[in-house]
């Protein structure tokens, strides 16, 4: 059998982070230790998935065949969200693109399907977790996305080989949510703990048996899901390393958490390490991987700990407002109208993929793409030019307190791109105090607003953090 495994991966931790002590200050409840990640007002699971996928595919030359997207907080029902990601990534039309979803367990399911198939597959997962104000679900939750490029040795150098695994199912009501509800509920913790600990024990022995390994062959165990702490404690009795589960700094990112832990492990992994990923959700899934020399050879970029370092604090009131849990006064301007579906389809490359055009005669870059150039050239004589990865510089900027926005004031800049091209564009993940003329920016895929249930996806610019600017 061909060797399957992980060719590359990318993660996305939103820049916003909420200090749990700020929740305690407001609600008087909770422990108040650590932070959780917070998706911005212009982010949803699809936009976060796009950013993780961009990180995973950065410099990749793999011939991708499938794109899977998993979330329990889909931006759309009925309409496939993965196709939005497909468009943002400018993938080939023949890449099979489907959503998995509904339950947190579907994420490990999608990863497992990808690992068992012979096709190169990008498995993207994103989740947005919240709960009633002052609840554990709220303070312990987190927002994040991951993307794993799965394939065979022939399709690309593997960072880690997939050794096999097991899936054991147990049906009981532990965490649940009725469709349309903003957050889930959980049963009394002690019950779940006492179901999962013996379940993991059964799954663990069966999994080792299937892959022909012994407990001592496993170097590291990652445990994700409800009651992961209790399970981790019992695993650690086996004398295996159980690394930090990121819940202190990022929170439990639900469907994303298993793959987030795997990515965090790979960020710092050495070669020839065997890792078990244990996922607790309506049963137990265990996947075994062994790292290759490639994890030490590759250039690491944008690790989870780097992204945590780039985070900025979000006030609790703003967080509530971003999640729609607190109504705040908007500028007295007409709200935006829904984008036209037919107009958006005609300019899909621009809107979703940030693809401009370059005039073959003058070489001038046009954003949005144009049929006739600004300084001459022939009609329809331009080639497509993807600009999503271009770096820009702020030429001039302003702050608009009057324009309609869910997060007024809007910071807006005229951006000139390295290598040519200009776009006056909204900035995000910043405020007027943090950014200035001459600063560098990069592009990020966002939801500008939602009208009549249609998400208006487009790109914004965000300041390049000092860490990245130096590298």
């Amino acid at each position: 059998m061909e060797v399957h495994g992980i060719i590359s991966y990318g993660t996305y931790i939103p820049r916003g982070c909420l200090s749990r002590s700020s929740i305690v200050e407001f609600t008087g409840k909770g422990s108040g230790e650590g932070t959780r990640s917070v998706a911005s007002y212009d982010e949803n699971t699809t936009t976060m998935g796009v950013e993780a996928a961009r990180n995973a595919l950065h410099n990749s030359e793999v011939d991708l065949k499938k794109l899977y997207f998993t979330t329990v907080m889909p931006a759309y029902m009925d309409k496939t969200n993965a196709t939005n990601i497909h468009a943002a990534l400018q993938l080939d039309d023949f890449v099979e693109t489907v959503d998995f979803g509904n339950s947190t367990r579907s994420a490990v399911g999608a990863l497992s399907v990808a690992l068992e198939s012979g096709s190169s597959t990008l498995a993207v997962t994103a989740d947005l977790r919240t709960g009633p104000s002052g609840s554990t679900e709220e303070s312990a939750g987190g927002d994040a996305a991951t993307a794993f490029l799965i394939g065979t040795e022939e399709q690309g150098k593997l960072l880690a080989e997939y050794l096999g695994g097991v899936s054991i199912t147990s049906d009981f009501t532990d965490r649940w949510r009725v469709p349309g509800e903003p957050y889930s509920q959980v049963w009394e913790e002690r019950f779940g703990e006492q179901v999962y600990v013996p379940l993991v024990d059964r799954a663990w022995n069966e999994a080792l048996n299937r892959v022909g390994m012994k407990t001592e062959d496993v170097n590291t165990v990652l445990v994700a899901g409800l009651h992961s702490r209790s399970v981790a404690k019992s695993i650690s009795l086996l004398d295996i390393k159980v690394p930090d589960d990121l819940t202190g700094r990022i929170g439990n990112t639900g469907a994303t958490h298993p793959s987030l832990l795997l990515a965090n492990f790979l960020d710092d992994a050495e070669a020839d390490q065997t890792v078990a990923l244990i996922v607790l959700a309506d049963g137990c899934d265990i996947l075994f991987f062994r790292t290759t020399q490639e994890v030490e050879n590759r250039k690491s970029s944008n690790s989870i700990s780097d992204q945590i370092d780039d985070q900025y604090p979000v006030p609790y009131g703003k967080y509530l407002s971003w999640r729609g849990l607190l109504d705040s006064q908007l500028p007295n301007r007409p709200p935006p109208v829904r984008p036209s579906s037919s107009a958006a389809k005609r300019r899909n490359d621009w809107k979703m993929g940030f693809v401009g055009s370059k005039d073959n005669t003058t070489g001038i870059i046009h954003m949005p793409p144009s049929r006739i150039g600004i300084k001459g050239g022939d009609l329809d004589d331009m080639e497509k030019l993807p600009m999503a990865n271009a770096i820009g510089t702020i030429e001039t900027m302003t702050v608009d307190n009057l324009v309609y926005s869910p997060n007024s004031p809007v910071v807006f800049a005229v951006v000139n791109f390295k290598g040519g091209g200009r776009l006056p564009v909204e900035l995000t993940d910043t405020d007027s105090e943090k950014v200035d003329i001459g600063d560098q920016v990069e592009m990020t895929f966002r939801c500008l607003y939602t009208a009549d249930g249609i998400h208006n996806y487009f790109w914004k610019a965000k300041p390049i953090t000092k860490r990245k600017g130096k590298s």
Binding site: P331, R347, K375, T396, T398, V403
Partner: protein, 397 residues
């Protein structure tokens, strides 16, 4: 191909203008009737005897029917024109060309806007279906981009510029205070304006044009017929319009310190009118001070001073009512208010009063050395705009 103009072929023989402001008790139709009545009275003719009509409105109505119905014009050509905030001057331009062509003996241009029925602040929104990627920034924010760009290019301190633009607002409010048709009639000091909170970039609400309802109109005839109607007609010397191709938003070289469409329109208008030194040959100018930084750079773009010097000229009082070249003697968009479709014609209304020595004494300008006036009206934003420049004079040259 060339822009020949129609110098001294057409004359304005009557004008009218409503008070600009928040007319909660007046409809678009009421404003149209008021401006049309005053204009026909001013020309001493009946509306029925006018041959053709151009109706400028940007956001309040559509089609010529919207003018024909309230005025009960039947059996006549009525055209609605729209060119953003340069709509009013565009209506006049069309009317003048129609008369100059010989197609009609007389024509009326009427501009009107009713914006205060929306319940929102600012102008009405354009609800055209799009792909959703269009910029949604307010006009105030777009024009606020001028200030840091100008400061950087000419190495002027931004706080100094903040005072300069406040000085422009102070001047226009001072002029508007002497104008009974103006929306705002209170003087405000530059110092006080500088203390106000910013709403877009460094701009405060006092740097923005007033949002108003209003209407204004003009009747034009062939120049040789003008004296049949009035002994003080205004002769049309130049009418220029330039629509930009929005390249400023695409071209990294555009630096937001100049409005090329305005430079081009001014150049064309001076050529049509035969003006070599605008500052000397013009008695006054009405310019599109939608935001105070706009007026500042227009002083350079219209050739009233050298590039990079407008801020000093403003401080020197060059464009004050008693200055070398008075600008916006009626208060401008800033104090008179800005009913989009009417503003271009309102600017001509001020030249009508001033060049005919009919402006109130406390704001009348000297006509000793020049008897021509310039009207500049723009629509859009830095980088993507339409610009109109017109010149009228009280004498045939």
């Amino acid at each position: 191909m060339a822009s020949h103009g129609i110098k001294d072929q057409v004359a304005i023989i009557g004008m009218g203008c409503t008070r600009f402001g928040e007319h909660w008790d007046k409809s678009l139709e009421d404003l149209i009737i008021e401006a049309a009545e005053e204009t026909t009275k001013s020309a001493g003719i009946e509306a029925e005897s006018i041959d053709a009509f151009w109706f400028g409105t940007s956001q309040s109505a559509a089609s010529g029917i919207s003018l024909a119905t309230p005025l009960r014009i039947s059996g006549k050509p009525v055209t609605r024109v729209e060119n953003y905030c340069a709509t009013g001057s565009e209506a006049l331009r069309q009317a003048c060309y129609a008369v100059a062509s010989g197609a009609y003996d007389s024509a009326m241009a009427l501009g009107a806007e009713k914006v205060k029925d929306s319940g929102y602040q600012g102008l009405n929104a354009f609800p055209m279906p799009t792909d959703g990627t269009n910029r949604t920034l307010t006009a105030a924010a777009m024009f606020s981009l001028i200030l840091p760009a100008y400061a950087k290019r000419y190495e002027v301190d931004e706080d100094e510029l903040r005072y300069v633009i406040a000085r422009i607002a102070e001047k226009n409010h001072s002029n508007g205070a002497k104008n009974e048709l103006a929306q705002f009639r209170r003087e405000v000091s530059a110092e006080k304006i500088c203390e106000m909170p910013s709403i877009a970039g460094r701009l405060s609400v006092m740097d923005c044009a007033g949002v108003a309802d209003g209407a204004a109109a003009a009747i034009v005839v062939r120049a040789e017929d003008a004296l049949k109607y009035t002994d003080k007609p205004l002769y049309v010397k130049a009418l220029s319009l330039v629509a930009g191709d929005s390249s400023g938003l695409v071209d990294p070289d555009f630096d937001f310190t100049t409005l090329p469409e305005c430079v081009d329109a001014a150049h064309d208008a001076y050529s049509q009118a035969g003006i070599k030194d605008p500052k000397k040959e013009l008695a006054m100018a009405e310019v599109h001070d939608c935001f105070t930084p706009t007026e500042m750079i227009l002083m350079e773009d219209l050739g009233f001073c050298e590039k990079g010097t407008a801020w000093q000229e403003v401080l020197n009082g060059t464009f004050d009512i008693d200055g070398e070249l008075p600008v916006n003697t009626d208060g401008g968009l800033k104090a008179f208010g800005h009913p989009v479709g009417a503003s271009g014609l309102r600017m001509f209304y001020e030249t009508w009063l001033q060049l005919r020595s009919e402006a109130p004494n406390d704001r009348s300008i000297s006509l000793e050395s020049a008897k021509q006036a310039l009207v500049h009206n723009l629509g859009g934003y830095p980088g993507e705009m339409v610009s109109f420049v017109g010149i009228v004079g009280s004498e045939i040259s």
